[in-house]
């Protein structure tokens, strides 16, 4: 499986964020997108996720499921956690598992993996920022998608949480998945660097 972009141009609010961007990532490979603030890291991820339309260039996934579009094979972990404070931890997770569909894995198990098994029935409103992030990670484990698009995934996670997350990413890569992460902090795994927007 190979994800590649050719000559991507991104225009936001009349301003050209980047132009002529090429990238590629293969199965089992992680790409860390780095660059200064405003260089378009988040925009690149949203282009891949189909949430933004490129002003030029193409993105293609070779060797994936031919029945599905690229966004349908991606997990997108953005700045916002997509959690409803009124629902309990397990309700939040079960909703995304039901809604996203596809192959499903043990929700309870993934809550244990991210260290939230003690809080399953509590409302998500009671969670701290780091715990909310962990709950979002449980979504990536419960529903399998080959491509992970991660936007600053380690924010709000403590040292133990970052270690746990690095382990999850390594598992995902050995299963043949691929990861594109926009980040300022080191991810804790081997990753190829993709620098956009010139020197940091």
């Amino acid at each position: 499986m190979q994800l590649s972009g050719r000559g991507l141009v991104c225009v936001r609010g009349g301003r050209e964020v980047f132009a002529g961007l090429d990238f590629e990532a293969r199965s089992g490979e992680a790409v860390a997108v780095v660059g200064r603030n405003g260089s378009g890291k988040t925009s690149l991820l949203r282009l891949i996720a189909g949430l933004l339309v490129p002003a030029g260039g193409t993105i293609a996934l070779a060797g994936g499921d031919s029945e599905l579009t690229l966004p349908e094979q991606c997990h997108y972990l953005g700045h916002r956690d997509a959690l409803k404070p009124a629902l309990s931890v397990v309700e939040n997770l079960a909703f995304w598992a039901d809604f996203l569909g596809g192959e499903r894995f043990d929700a309870e198990g993934s809550l244990t993996t991210v260290g939230l098994d003690h809080a399953t029935d509590l409302p998500a409103a009671f969670l701290s920022a780091g715990q909310r992030r962990r709950l979002s990670l449980a979504r990536l484990l419960t529903v399998r998608r080959p491509v992970w698009l991660l936007d600053e995934p380690t924010t709000a996670l403590d040292a133990a949480g970052q270690d746990m997350f690095a382990g999850l990413m390594r598992d995902h890569l050995t299963r043949g998945g691929l990861i594109i992460a926009a980040t300022h902090a080191p991810l804790g795994i081997d990753a190829r660097e993709l620098r956009i927007g010139g020197a940091a």
Binding site: L122, P123, F126, S128, G130, A156, D158, A159
Partner: protein, 263 residues
């Protein structure tokens, strides 16, 4: 016993646990006496047996206003004295007040059915009670809209006090509006010409219903205190174990335990 003694929720729980059975018993006894007396009160020469609805209606109407008064005092407690039990008292009084107001409306309209020929007439008195009912519902919606009770408390307290100032104004304008459209005054009920055979059962019923309110209110306050304790225990549980090192957990735990103390 002073207010200071009651300020401690644990002491409040212990005290009310002892008082509640007695209060409940007194309420039942008085209600039985009152209902018995009302049942055997003579029929009115004009209204017949329908006048007996008054024995239920008047206490409920009295309580619909009395409860708002209780909530206003509690709101002052929240805003001025920051009494820890004040917002618990205000919150748990609202649904009970709404229930009494609703009963006042229903009994009023049942009483009106043979008088007016319809279940509802835009009579000044009933209309004011209807507006009061809407205000109770709005207040309950406000309590429900905010998940954190201590944040909702301020807003609800301000609304309650504004309501307390506004209610007489509303009452006056509704009366004026009504006379504007219906110069012939609707039949008056109550007044000072009440016969003794009506007055005594009415008084007993009023006291019985007030006791009923006090009993229900104390029980509801206990529930609310316990509900808040459960909530802060849950918050502590959420921030427990593996996350002691996590950023933000410390302050969360602190605020949770502070709240446990407050509740």
């Amino acid at each position: 016993m002073t207010l200071i003694d009651l300020a401690n929720p644990t002491r409040f729980l212990a005290l009310t646990a002892r008082v509640l059975p007695w209060l409940a018993a007194a309420t039942i006894i008085l209600l039985t006496i009152g209902l018995y007396q009302s049942a055997f009160a003579p029929d009115d020469y004009q209204q017949g047996a329908t006048v007996k609805i008054m024995f239920i209606h008047v206490p409920n109407a009295w309580l619909s206003m009395f409860v708002w008064g209780v909530m206003s005092v509690a709101s002052l407690g929240t805003l001025v004295w920051r009494h820890p039990l004040a917002d618990v008292a205000a919150k748990s009084a609202a649904p009970i007040g709404a229930a009494f107001t609703f009963l006042a409306l229903v009994t009023g309209s049942l009483w009106g059915r043979p008088m007016w020929g319809t279940y509802w007439e835009w009579d000044a008195r009933l209309t004011s009670v209807l507006i009061l009912f809407l205000m109770y519902l709005g207040l309950m919606a406000l309590w429900r809209a905010v998940e954190d009770p201590s944040r909702a408390a301020r807003a609800a307290a301000v609304l309650t006090l504004v309501g307390a100032i506004n209610l007489p104004i509303i009452k006056f304008s509704v009366d004026w509006w009504n006379t504007l459209h219906q110069p012939a005054s609707v039949m008056r009920m109550g007044g000072s010409t009440l016969d003794k055979s009506f007055l005594i059962p009415l008084l007993v019923m009023a006291i019985a219903f007030t006791l009923l309110f006090v009993t229900l209110h104390l029980a509801a306050m206990r529930n609310e205190i316990l509900r808040r304790r459960v909530r802060s225990l849950q918050m502590m549980q959420a921030s427990r174990v593996a996350f002691s090192s996590e950023v933000g957990t410390g302050s969360r735990e602190e605020s949770a335990s502070k709240e446990a103390g407050a509740a």
